[in-house]
Symmetry: C2
Subunit: 221 residues, 2 copies
DNA sequence: AGCAACATACATACTAGTTGGTATGCTGTC
DNA sequence: GACAGCATACCAACTAGTATGTATGTTGCT
């Protein structure tokens, strides 16, 4: 009996779940391009194919919509990219390298940057609700990498000298930094070079011969 | 007849240089806090102690004011913090470490983040004028560090295995990354830990005994 | 005197949010 | 099992506030 509405991206009449998702997806795209404050609500409605009434039925205001975008859409993107591949990986270093190599070098993605970092940078000083939400996602991200490294260390794939928390934070900082630089230069080669540097760093975290000093691994306690 | 308005921060009557500087400084502060697009022109005027007429006498529009802020104020901040100390440094590694240690851990500075990166992140995808200007400053910054490292290598203070360009870009990416994370967490200890990690990395760039393999130095060609 | 350097008041445009109303589908009742 | 009753889902037009930018007037140097 479910209405099989066909081709448009406009949600079928009376399909609140679809409507809500259409709004979230459209809002995410608009926010990703323009930032939250400059995100045009009317543009979101046009893409979602609904009107103001629908929006303000599902969300109290623009801020609540933005919160939901972070809680649902951005959170899902990050978890799909990082947590899921790391969760059931045989070798953590290989898995991390694979994730890095999976980073898009598409023009559009480079120009828009990291959605999580974008919102965090824009809203952290201005809105505690956004700040807490993005900080939570950063913590989850950092914790997932640290956990993987810790397990890899126990399993003999990661060197004992590695501090999982420091290395994890370092990886995230470098990753976001390179993405930021590439967003500015609009040059995919810059991001590629940065990711390559990170891959080389990750290789240094593998188990090393114990007789060799390892002074040159940056993040250690 | 000269109105001897003494105590306010309002520029002296008929002092165009002062007026222009007051506008630039007020605009920088406002943009640093709120970003360019959400920067309130009236708030800038209030802080600068002038009116719309003065603003639009000196600048064609808000965009031109923003461009000037980047070209003058932000450029000066970056050069004072990096280029100047590096220019006449005896030891480049020591100088870079000193610059890092000079990074403010004040609450206000952590919450606002790096002015250059802020504007670059916000405006790069939206305005080519801003993008070119910020990209130029990043290039200058990157070039200055690379030059220092190159000279240090020739002088015997930096290891021959170091690629000045890659290491320089890496330093900037990590620096901006850590600042971004701290801006989000609003935790000065996070930034401190990141800077410490960078200092440890910088120490690995010093001349090393040649018989030791140095696989674990991230940015190399 | 005449132009640069401002101030004041106002026009114009945009945009988040509201209001009042309509259509749809579920649910309990007979 | 059908229909009254009702809550949910949505629409279109409007409002109120805010933002940039402008038109015009005034003041002070040189």
């Amino acid at each position: 009996m479910k209405k099989a509405h066909a081709k448009t991206n406009r949600p079928a009449a009376r399909d609140p779940v679809r409507t809500r998702e259409a709004l979230l997806n459209a809002a995410f795209a608009e926010i990703h391009r323009s930032g939250f404050r400059s995100a045009d609500v009317d543009a979101i409605l046009r893409v979602a194919g609904v009107t103001k009434g629908a929006l303000y039925h599902h969300f109290e205001n623009k801020e609540a919509l933005g919160y939901a975008v972070v809680d649902v859409v951005v959170a899902d993107i990050m978890r799909q990219k990082w947590q899921v591949p790391l969760r059931d990986a045989e070798n953590p270093i290989n898995a991390l390298i694979a994730v890095l190599k999976g980073t898009s070098l598409e023009k559009h993605d480079i120009e828009c940057g990291c959605p999580l970092n974008n919102i965090a940078q824009e809203m952290s000083p201005l809105d505690e609700g956004f700040r807490r939400r993005t900080a939570k996602l950063f913590r989850e991200w950092q914790g997932a990498i640290a956990k993987t490294l810790r397990e890899g260390r126990a399993h003999g794939d990661v060197d004992q000298g590695v501090d999982p928390d420091q290395s994890s934070t370092f990886l995230i900082a470098a990753y976001e930094g390179y993405i930021s630089l590439a967003k500015n230069s609009q040059n995919g080669a810059d991001l590629k070079a940065g990711l390559d540097a990170m891959v080389r760093y990750l290789d240094t975290l593998r188990v090393q011969p114990t007789d060799r000093l390892q002074a040159s691994r940056p993040p250690r306690s």
